[in-house]
Symmetry: C2
């Protein structure tokens, strides 16, 4: 009988759970709300309860379950200790040990962005690669570094914090992290909208963007595809900054591929093609010709990656 | 009896060799010239001959020798294949296999800058760390990434090519690599001299630097230490660009420490202190407080690291 495991992605508003086979088939998925009250102290209790209920409801054989993988929104060290998950109200404690105590299952924990990268490598846009960089362009910009098939955690759990690479040292507005010039300020969904407002104020050129009441990354990419000059300027700027950050990363780890996900990546190959074009101008000869892929798992990347975390290589 | 190994550093003009104990004692070191004629086809023959001679001269017991580690000036893949060592005249071939055939000893091969990083981790400025970045500020700027005690090679052997991270996208002069704006153009010994000439041409300020006929990185740092304003401006610029590149690296791999070597690092703690100061302004909170160390092994880093390569973790 094929063994099973749970892949769990704890977010600020909901906890996503998946029941997987060892080979990567998602048998079932569901969500529960994230109870943030009392410093988030009920979150893991709720996770344990819903896992136990699933086992009972489906008559799963306990001995057949490998364990539980969990992704959390914050830095995590190799042993599963979270440092500060602001969105969950958590301080410093060992999530692996706590979950093992509550469920009796072996547990491994990773940062949510890192885990999503692992998920894309396993069953998504990064299938077939063992060394890749995933960048998630959403409300913010997250990242994950996969080397030799495993997450690179870093000495303080802060490896892959790609969104906070400085790409524009002369920027004056501050990023959410408190410093100015981060990739997140230019390549996130919120970043490109902010840049659009700046450009529309500054430029006198006509643009379809001026007619849109609630600008969004999607609207900007759509207008760019229709040939709108200002929208294309914005898309180029985003891709140029993203390519610069990816070129920095390439000179450090020389990956096989880049996988781009998050809401902004719905723009599709326009995003990857243009980013690749700028990237090629920014790197040594030996680092050219990397593969640029779109993520495929969407919001499920986290549960896939968490499952892979506990399954191992 | 403690086991022994050879650590070998093949450079464009000479091959450095060291005989080491497994625990890192350098028993003897010597050099032979690098014969670059005939596409460098005699280099490994010469290495094999001098190794055999050493074994005979010192009456070493063959069974007591672990093997040979080699550093070469160019990209090398995990299996020991060199891609293009321009300085040696080498094309594409497997240096490990060739050396094993010529000597009968197990051989491992790495890029010279990566191997130097491993050497500094083992017996130099990086002792006690398992995750570090080494930057060598010499005629060019080289780098090495050590993760979990081992060299990160990268998918094409180009990991740690730190000197070619773009730090100034608006620079117009080209680096040796053919692109403009690389760290090497600002943080190498040749880079700071070039920047000095630029600044002296542009500025009308008096400076001791104007009296020096043959400007060097050392002279610039010496003048800076004596309080010369223009020299300090140049040192600040170098440290600012270096710190920017190190901050990029930190957001990717989150190392424990940075080790700075090469001729420019003879400037000492002035270099590390100022670079650390600028670095702290460029990184996320979780990446602050890294250790900044000076390299300690000088030109021997390569033979130490090559020895460690064959000894393993």
């Amino acid at each position: 009988m094929e063994r099973l495991c749970f892949g769990i992605d704890i977010g600020g508003t909901s906890v996503k759970l998946g029941l997987f086979t060892e080979n990567g088939n998602l048998l079932d998925k569901w969500e529960i709300p994230t109870r943030r009250e009392d410093s988030g102290s009920h979150i893991l209790e709720d996770v344990a309860a819903t896992v136990k209920k699933k086992i009972a409801d489906d008559n799963l054989v306990r001995e057949n379950i490998i364990g539980i993988g969990i992704g959390v929104p914050g830095p995590v060290t190799e042993d599963g200790t979270v440092i500060n998950c602001v969105n969950l109200g958590w301080g410093i404690f060992n999530v692996s040990e706590e979950t093992e105590k509550l469920t009796g299952f072996k547990t491994r924990v990773g940062n949510d962005a890192n885990v999503a990268a692992l998920g894309e490598m396993w069953q998504g846009g990064g299938r077939g690669y063992k060394n890749l960089i995933m960048v998630t362009l959403g409300t913010g910009v997250g990242g994950g570094v996969i080397l030799n098939g495993e997450i690179l955690t870093g000495s303080n759990g802060a490896a892959g914090e790609i969104g906070h690479i400085t790409v524009n040292p002369s920027e004056e507005d501050k990023c959410n992290c408190g410093r100015p010039g981060c990739l997140e300020q230019f390549a996130s969904a919120t970043g490109i909208v902010k840049e659009a407002k700046r450009l529309l104020d500054k430029s006198k050129e006509p643009s379809k963007l001026r007619e849109i009441q609630h600008l969004s990354a999607k609207a900007i990419f759509d207008c760019a595809k229709e040939g709108d000059a200002l929208a294309n300027e914005l898309v180029e700027e985003l891709c140029r900054y993203l390519a610069l950050a990816l070129s920095h990363i390439a000179h450090v780890v020389d990956p096989e591929a880049f996988v781009i996900g998050g809401g902004v990546s719905k723009a599709g190959t326009m995003l990857t093609d243009l980013t690749k074009k700028f990237y090629e101008n920014n790197v040594l000869f030996a680092l050219k010709n990397k593969d640029f892929k779109l993520a495929e798992l969407g919001n499920d990347a986290g549960i896939y990656g968490s499952a892979k975390l506990i399954i191992g290589k």
